[in-house]
Amino acid sequence: MYFARWKIIAIFAVILLGVITALPNLLPADVRERMPAWLPSKTMNLGLDLQGGSQVLLEVDRADLVSQLTNQLMGDIRQVLRDERIGYTGLGRSGTQVSLRIRNSADVEKAITNIQELAQPVSTGLFADGTAVNSADVTRDGDRIIVNFTDAGLTARINRAVQQSIEIVRRRVDALGTTEPSISRQGADRIEVQVPGLQDPSRLKELLATTAKLQFRLLCEEQPQSATPSSAPVGCDLLYSTDEPKVPYFVQTSSRSTVEGEDLTDSQPGFDQQGGEPIVSFRFNQRGAQRFGELTQRNVGRPFAIVLDNEVISAPRINEAILGGTGQISGNFTVEEANDLAIVLRSGALPAKLQIVQESSVGPSLGADSVRAGMIASIVAVVAVVIFMVIGYGLFGVFANIALIANLILLFGILSLLQATLTLPGIAGIVLTIGMAVDANVLIYERIREEQRLGRTPVAALNAGFDRALATIMDSNVTSLIAALVLFGMGSGPIRGFAITLALGIVTSMFTAFTLTRLIISWWFSRARPKAIPL
């Protein structure tokens, strides 16, 4: 039962470290702030289910992105062929495919060369050398040309769209002014947004579901006569207003009559100087200011539509040319709506629609209830196990209990240090650890008992007990660890919390049962020098 001095020091250093890192959890926030900087002041992170808050899982709408890409490709092909003066018919799309027929078969080769240039390689970003893949395959079938997006190309686009969306989502959520939102990527095409403290996620969802593609478009001469027009005249789109009931508008489609909002540099909520109603003011960069100036100058006296995500927000008349590159949007907003519109315009347009595929929110009172319930359950579990161990093993039970407490302290310390998130299932993991942590001690003690019954001396029985139980403890704990690791790999938030506490609990219990109990027993033994082990 000999312990080298460095071992004793190491054991106590580990436990002391555990105490220091676990301690901030017990201190009130103001004490923690006044502590010297070198002391760890991190506490365990409470999950949304414990502190209350909202979580939303967004998915980049693949279909929407593909349809945008194919539309764009069709527009580009139209442009290129027109520039090259190549006649074509039947330009159309189906799924991820765009096809067209070239009128003059002599032009097909030339057309293919031009279109191939459009299918520019996109970087996959998977390899350090920036290996690029073609975003589309161009094939020929007689005088027909078929352009197909490649899977690798689409995947790369989606990847880029997700990264871009994360940035935009971050800016929008930050602008809400909530504390410490967390935005992270989940899998290939999902984004998880967690906002602690936010109880009703509906406003968050509205902010995130907006693509924020802003356009200023001239209205057509002819405007709809009924509330439900069947079709728009040539060169016009039929769009509806955001009001209830929806008002239909015919809006010009040509690019000459449109200014895109992508040149916006800033937008702010404010109040109209005359009416005092909430408005959103915006500012263009130089290019946008120039185009906006030209459009308004040419069309003074005509109405134009401010279109957000294909909905008409308002359709004011152009009173004078707007040359400075600034303007304002009014549209019967509430203060909150104006604020949100300013946020989405400022943070830019999402590359594709985001769909909400999952959400959860927990009110702060339920969270607090859960924390209280978890604490009570943990305390009851500790007390019950402590009593049970003392009844079953007497003094050695007390040793095991010391190890159990040290184990819990270490567990809390590591959780604080790692800044792992403590969830309600995480608390369940801790309680389970409490129950199972003494298992190692039980195994050791039962072995000692047996060895003693076989007639070994106390020292031999103690040593044999620890040594022989070691392999068993290892084997049995590894299997539990495997289960915990698989749970962690499953990756769903709160359950991950359970897997973390369970896995950490298994590891720390192996340490405390094996080193700390052994050390305590060796001290006790050298003092008491008993004739028999009291087990």
Binding site: G363, M389, G435, E446, T472, D475, L487, M490
Partner: protein, 322 residues
């Protein structure tokens, strides 16, 4: 103060005499569970079925009938309204809507219908896409765990042991599913987590018994296998009972005081402790009797000796310095 023995020393239960009854009992329960699973089926929660779960708090005592009428008026399909302990707490479940979009709209409809006098304690919305994925991930993770454990036990022991261990695991999983079918309890993602933990716990128990059997196989080369197994089970019995007891106590306190949200999870765990302990004695071990085990462990023992010697490098001193 003398410790109290919960299990006396030198018990000589002839566990394996009842192995046949064990097979019959386990076999019957497993078949019954499977039949229930395919006929009655599980009461899947929104994690797997998709849908919406709301926990609301009303100002005064809630009128469940009225709530039910209001909500079914919205024509959202399956709507379930249920009291939650206190009179002003209500749980509302709404079945899955066709699309993600429709799901979002259903929520605003419900909020509109319930008015402003209601506090929302908890909202869970799982869209159709995610729910099918979660079900898939849940099933795969249980399979992955079983395979990983099979491989581990195979490496550390012998294939016969691995078969026994996995038979016990499948037994535990099937019986837990059976129990949830019988009681009609919500089967959601946290129950999958509980099952995985049960798998870990049950195996923990099984491995301790196996360890002792392996040790005894080396020690008593000519003992009848059935006696050897009985003796191994008896010598680990005290530990089995004590650990099961402490784990059960801890889980019981979580079940009683841990709150409504994780009650299903802790219930499954309590069951898991019982069924896991049973299966390591009456499912995992008897399999060794059925398939037989390798009795010549000499090569393995050599390896083990090396390991023990390494492990004892520091103990060499300890014999002299207690």
């Amino acid at each position: 103060m003398r410790p109290i023995r919960f299990i006396p020393d030198d018990t000589k239960f002839q566990f394996m005499r009842f192995a046949r009854i064990g097979y019959a009992l386990s076999g019957f329960c497993m078949i019954a569970s499977l039949v229930l699973f395919f006929t009655v089926g599980l009461n899947y929660g929104i994690d797997f079925k998709g849908g919406t779960l709301l926990e609301i708090q009303t100002k005064g005592p809630a009128d469940l009938g009225n709530l039910r009428r209001t909500l079914s008026g919205l024509e959202l399909g399956e709507v379930e309204v249920q009291g939650l302990g206190t009179p002003n707490q209500v749980m509302i479940r709404i079945g899955q809507q066709e699309t993600e979009q429709a799901t979002q709209e259903s929520i605003s409809k419900v909020r509109g219908a319930l008015g402003a006098d209601v506090t929302y304690n908890r909202t869970e919305i799982v869209g159709p896409k995610v729910s099918s994925e979660l079900a898939q991930v849940g099933t795969i993770s249980v399979l992955v765990a079983v395979v990983a454990i099979l491989i581990y036990v195979w490496f550390r022991f012998e294939w016969q042991f691995a078969i026994g261990a996995v038979a016990a695991l499948i037994h535990d999983v099937v019986l837990t599913i059976g129990l949830f079918c019988v009681l009609g309890l919500q089967f959601n993602l946290s129950i999958i987590a509980a099952i995985l933990t049960i798998v870990g716990y049950s195996l923990n128990d099984t491995v301790v018994v196996f360890d002792r059997i392996r040790e005894n196989l080396r020690k008593y080369k000519s003992m009848r296998l059935i006696d050897l197994i009985d003796s191994s089970l008896n010598s680990t019995l005290s530990r089995t009972v004590l650990t099961a007891a402490t784990t059960f106590i801890a889980m019981m306190s979580l079940f009683l005081f841990g709150g409504e949200v994780i009650r299903g999870f802790t219930f499954a765990m309590l069951w898991g402790v019982i069924v896991g302990t049973y299966s390591s004695i009456y499912v995992a071990t008897p399999i060794l009797l059925l398939v037989g085990v390798k009795r010549d462990w000499s090569s393995v023992t050599d390896k083990a000796k090396v390991a023990v010697n390494n492990g004892n490098a520091s103990k060499a001193k300890s014999a002299t310095m207690p």
